[in-house]
Symmetry: none
Subunit: 214 residues, 4 copies
DNA sequence: AATGAATGAGGCTTCATTCAT
DNA sequence: AATGAATGAAGCCTCATTCAT
């Protein structure tokens, strides 16, 4: 119906997301406290004052970054789980694959480390993240595990706790990359890491043919 | 006449560890950058200046915390590994048990999250930690895995990467406790978490009797 | 419509020189180490933070004072020397006259005493001053002396050392004024001082008509 | 009559001068403000607290250093002048030689720079030094010059001002050595410096045989 | 007389936030 | 809408001085 907005207008509307992108990359690189708003503004190509036209303060900027970053991927994974009908371990692999593609291989990969690092200093933010990302992600993995246990594909174990154990190496892979990896001589290979994790899991979760569970 | 050192002297000798204890609790509570040395001093019941009689600066204080608290546990684990002659998985369990008792159940449990959160902004501290804790810890787990693979107890896998996968849930357990756990309704049970992790590992690492590796 | 820059803009452009002026007067009054940046800012009518918008730190502020105030005078003197074609002693007098007008009779007169007082504790500043002021000043006087010796106007002497001897009374005049002069009852007359110095020099440097050097 | 004091007693009596010696060397090396009392005490082999048993505070220590350092040499020079009967320039050379031996070649050589550097911040000290050292030194040189002028050995010039001009290079030699000399590549030769100064003076002060003064 | 542990004021520097233009 | 100059609170670290032993 209407013509496309003029370049100028589009620029203006793009501002917030340009700022969010700049903020994400700096928050992820330096953490929340150590990121200077002046640097965020500079990376987005605007001045420090402009930033305050779009975000009330540093906290609000941080929240906006999280909000935009990860929730859509959780929703995608919920859809994948809803339409899956194969075996449960395959579902785990599908969920991981999508997560890896949409988060692990993008700038959002830095968010888990960011949240872990700042949760205590920003409890309100942590709550927001927990409700919208973590609890939904755990529910997803939890229902896959529960289905597998009920079908006899997996051993019986405490589901909630197993979820944490299963997720942990995936989170650590990202957290490591944005923290101590700078000290490491050799680059580790995330593909191999994930494959080994899933290999161990496949065999570790499987219900033994006959006797002798632990 | 009295065999006891003077109160003054006794105080002087106790100071460093009082300061280290105060520093540990604040570092773990607020992170490295956000901890004020004045608060550390106050918690130890001394003034700002006194702290500098014992530690050259904030970095040195932090390194001392690690030096006194964590490195000895690594050394203990190295001794445990050196004298171990049983099967490799048992060694992994012994190492975990000692780590859990000396680190996981003490205030030092907060250090991994601290390091993850601050590594990028304090590369020298990160290096120190990497050299003295991480690389030694990985070597320890790595040699246990390698021994198990060579003896046929474990499947053959890339050792370095498997080390990371094996360690990750243990680190995440601690990291979680000092970050997002505040948002969690139910307290999770670390004993069960570790048991499930080790169960999955025991079965996941084991070399199948006959064929069918991945 | 109006051709004048806005007041704000005008202010911004004037700031650096206002700050340099304030810094010069305080450095000269109290020395480098004892001058508080907050006082410099206050004297320029701004806050502490503003100073850092224009100068990276205290060292940079000091260097800027030298850069703006003294180095140009050295450059002028180099130009004077380059275009001079008369006798060498006249050149010495021209150099002195310009130095006296631009440095000796301004607030910059306090810099030599400042440098002498602080050189050991701020070796980087001392180096900067040595490279940019002292060595160029000495080269200037040295080449005038050398020319005079080669033309037979002056006796032959070690040039480098003679430079130091020739310059010393001029520096001492300024150093004295910013140090012990407060204790002196009668104000001494710098014009007479300089005239006597040059009188002694004119006759002292001159090559005797016939024999009898020392 | 009495036996020599015991070593222990002598040690105690030697304390103040050991402290003064240590203070001199540090004040001369770093200046007043930058000298740490802890370093003074350490160099004298005592503890920080001990220093306060002998000197009320840092200022008092500084004053004591100056008091002990130079006045005796001035007195010696006054005696030399009193008994001198040769030509006036020879007297100037004798005074210089004694000064050079007793001050210029000892640790006291740093005092002129010290006084110059701190005079403004310690006016009371500056007065003390002016009365006891500078004014007496100037009187000494002044009377030698005046005698030479009256005898026809020297040209007629304003005595007070000429004194300053004559002394300046000697003071600058010492001041330089304790300030900017660190930046200088080649060590300058003080013997040559003083010889050139005296050469220039000898010829510069001398009354010309016939006409043509300036 | 001697010690040395303890203090706390003070200076440089950073940066989130404000606001006049 | 956008700018960017200006602010001032806050933290690390030093060191003269005190005082219990």
């Amino acid at each position: 119906m209407s013509a496309l907005p003029t370049p100028r207008k589009r620029r203006k509307e793009a501002r917030p997301s340009e700022l969010l992108e700049a903020a994400l990359s700096l928050f992820v690189e330096k953490g929340f406290a150590a990121t200077r708003l002046e640097d965020v503004a500079a990376r987005a190509g605007v001045s420090k004052g402009t930033l305050y036209l779009y975000f009330e303060n540093k906290d609000a900027l941080f929240k906006a970054v999280i909000q935009e970053g990860i929730i859509p991927v959780i929703a995608e994974n919920e859809a994948i789980a809803a339409r899956h009908s194969g075996c449960s371990f395959d579902l785990l692999e599908l969920l991981l694959e999508n997560w890896w593609t949409k988060i692990g291989q993008t700038a959002f990969a830095g968010i888990p480390k960011l949240m872990v690092a700042e949760a205590r200093n920003f409890p309100e933010l942590a709550s927001f993240y927990y409700e919208n990302v973590i609890s939904r992600g755990r529910a997803l993995v939890g229902s896959a595990l529960r289905r597998g246990m009920e079908s006899g594909e997996f051993r019986s174990m405490d589901v909630e706790t197993t979820v944490d154990v299963v997720i942990a190496p995936i989170l650590m892979l990202l957290i490591w990359r944005y923290s101590m990896s700078c000290c490491q001589g050799s680059e580790s290979d995330p593909q191999m890491y994930l494959r080994i994790h899933m290999d161990l899991l496949r065999q570790g979760l499987r219900k033994p043919e006959k006797e002798s569970q632990v």
